[in-house]
Amino acid sequence: MSSKTTGNVMAGTHFLMGNIACAEGAIAAGCNFAAGYPITPATEIINHLAKKLPLHGGIFLQTEDEISAISSIVGASWSGCKVLTATSGPGISLMQENIGFAVATETPLVIIDVQRLGPSTGVPSIGLAGDIVQVARGSHGDYQIIALCPDGPQEMFDLTVRAFNLSEKYRVPVFLMAEGFIGHMRERVVIPDASELSLVARTIQRGAGGPMQRQDFLDAAVAPMPVFGNGLKSHVTSSCHDEHGMRNLSDPEIMHKFITKPIEKIMRHRDDIIQVEKNYKDCDIVLVAYGSVSRSAKAAAELARADGLKVGIFRFITCWPFPGEEIREMAESVKHMIVLENNCGQLFPYIKAEAAHACRVDFIGPQTLGQIHDPEYVLSRLKEMVR
């Protein structure tokens, strides 16, 4: 499944804006079709892809709206392309219906969400992790999604590559949940040589026979994708369908599988998909965070340890599927979890649900929404809590 890249990789040490690192990650991962609509704070990604994709034989299409962007990348994915769109919360809201289409049709694609302060038009240039729950639950119906949370420009590169790999491997849409702060900050980014990058390309259905002779859908072990133009006469519908892709709105057994199999596909591979960073051995208190504010958490933990407090950290790199087992395991070994989020508490209820039976769980939001937590502030709140 793995293959080595050709000359698409800007290897070396750079001082890059997160959004540019993301676009370079997409190119390194082999993205050859991207579509999008300008929106702050994600625009630098599409600007960079527009300039660089054609140099590597790819296309960037500026669409008439975000609905068209998600629709056209689904179409191009069925033509066999590695595809991406980049937007912010308002664009995600518009895309939600067809994100569900991609889920239901098992279409690999990558969506970059450089989140901004909301609700609604909010503040375009200020970041907030306000879309964390909407990307998991925002399209109608019941489904599971993969979403990754970068903590800086280096991970804007690394996790964009990973998002492509996961989407291709499991035939699913994958989100990169950046925040405006991360997208716009510049930092040291080390891009490895092409030979050191491990890339995954989807398994493509081969051979002949109509859809009734094949089982291209609803396979929890991931069915090869019957991409268009190969004489497979594939039928693709987001309506309830059987393993042949054929619509079926009458068989309860098929309806059940239509929902559960794509969920099972992700959950069965959760150990491969879920990544967390943890450092809480011998600690009483753990600061739990993701994205930009995980850096506040780390800095605050250092300050606390210098003060003699046993404070550790836990960071979600994957936030969906939710790392519930990892949280439960931690809850058994610590006394107190303090959740930091760059919002008013979106993952907090999920964390609490897994941990509250075994330890105390508290929440600290930014002192001013839009500004990531000051470590000194976190430390003072922490001390109040444990007093």
Binding site: S71, S72, S79, N98, M212
Partner: protein, 278 residues
């Protein structure tokens, strides 16, 4: 007893699809046959095609019936999906078949932008003047003054002249026919399937069950008779004044010209910039 089967059915449709979802008298059957006949007369293979449709009765024309790659998408968006399919694999003949509600109401923005971009897909817009699948609601093509499910006291809005809209948006091939003109539809489709640019064919089609009922325009046969009586060829219509064109259906090929096509332009652009890079 052996089954008697239409030769086009055997050659071009999925064997296991045994039944139609269309109501008795629906115009979709005529359109299915016109499309398959065009492919047959051109000697093309179904594997050269990808059919994309949206939501609504007409979206069932290719899906799941046609034995080709078929992509059945969400309401209003088939043109946007098809744009991606075409740019991802320009060698495919990408055909959208969907209704007036799907393509001109909820999806109207994608329609005009696809025409403007001149993406090389064929769009077959089946205009039955009503939301049929959901039960007789007003469409942007429903005549003013008729009582529909959502305008029970009469519609107050004007209709879209969709072909003129697409023409104004820059499409290089635009034709309009009715289901009374199956041979003409086939002839225009043959041009569309072999042309490079965005080709648009509007087909006025009868919906006796919903449109016929709400507009009190009668049976399928009555509607076909109306198409026969009131269709005016574009050449003749151009010589007539707007007053005498009232209530008439202007049919024919409105434009057929060459313009640079988007997927081909992209292929050239990529070759150009990649050469400049090396």
């Amino acid at each position: 007893m052996s089954e008697i089967m239409h030769p086009l059915r055997m050659k071009y449709t999925r064997e296991h699809v045994k039944k139609t979802t269309n109501c008795p008298g629906c115009g979709n059957g005529i359109i299915v046959q016109a499309i398959l006949r065009a492919i047959d007369e051109l000697g093309m293979d179904m594997d050269e095609f990808a059919f994309v449709s949206g939501i609504g009765c007409s979206a069932w024309i290719p899906s799941p019936l046609f034995n080709a790659d078929t992509l059945h998408t969400t309401h209003g968006r088939p043109i946007a999906f098809a744009t991606g399919v075409k740019l991802g694999k320009p060698e495919l003949n990408v055909v959208v078949a969907s209704g007036d509600g799907d393509l001109a109401a909820i999806g109207g923005n994608h329609l005009i932008h696809a025409a403007r971009r001149n993406i090389g897909i064929t769009v077959i817009l089946v205009n039955n003047g009503i939301y049929a699948m959901t039960g007789g609601q007003t469409a942007p093509t429903t005549p003013r003054g008729v009582n529909t499910t959502t305008n029970p006291y009469g519609t107050l809005e004007s209709v879209f002249d969709i072909s003129s809209l697409v023409l104004a948006a820059g499409a290089p091939f635009v034709a309009r026919w009715t289901t009374y003109h199956p041979r003409q539809i086939t002839s225009s489709l043959k041009k569309a399937f072999t042309s490079r640019g965005f080709s648009f064919i509007e087909i006025i089609s009868q919906c006796p069950v919903q449109y016929g009922k709400v507009t009190k325009s009668g049976s399928a046969l009555d509607l076909l008779k109306h198409y026969k009586k009131d269709s005016i060829k574009i050449d003749k219509a151009r010589t007539m004044d707007p007053e005498s064109l009232k209530g008439k259906i202007v049919v024919g090929e409105f434009v057929n010209e060459q313009k640079p096509e988007l997927s081909a332009e992209w292929t050239e652009l990529k070759a150009r910039v990649m050469e400049g890079r090396s």
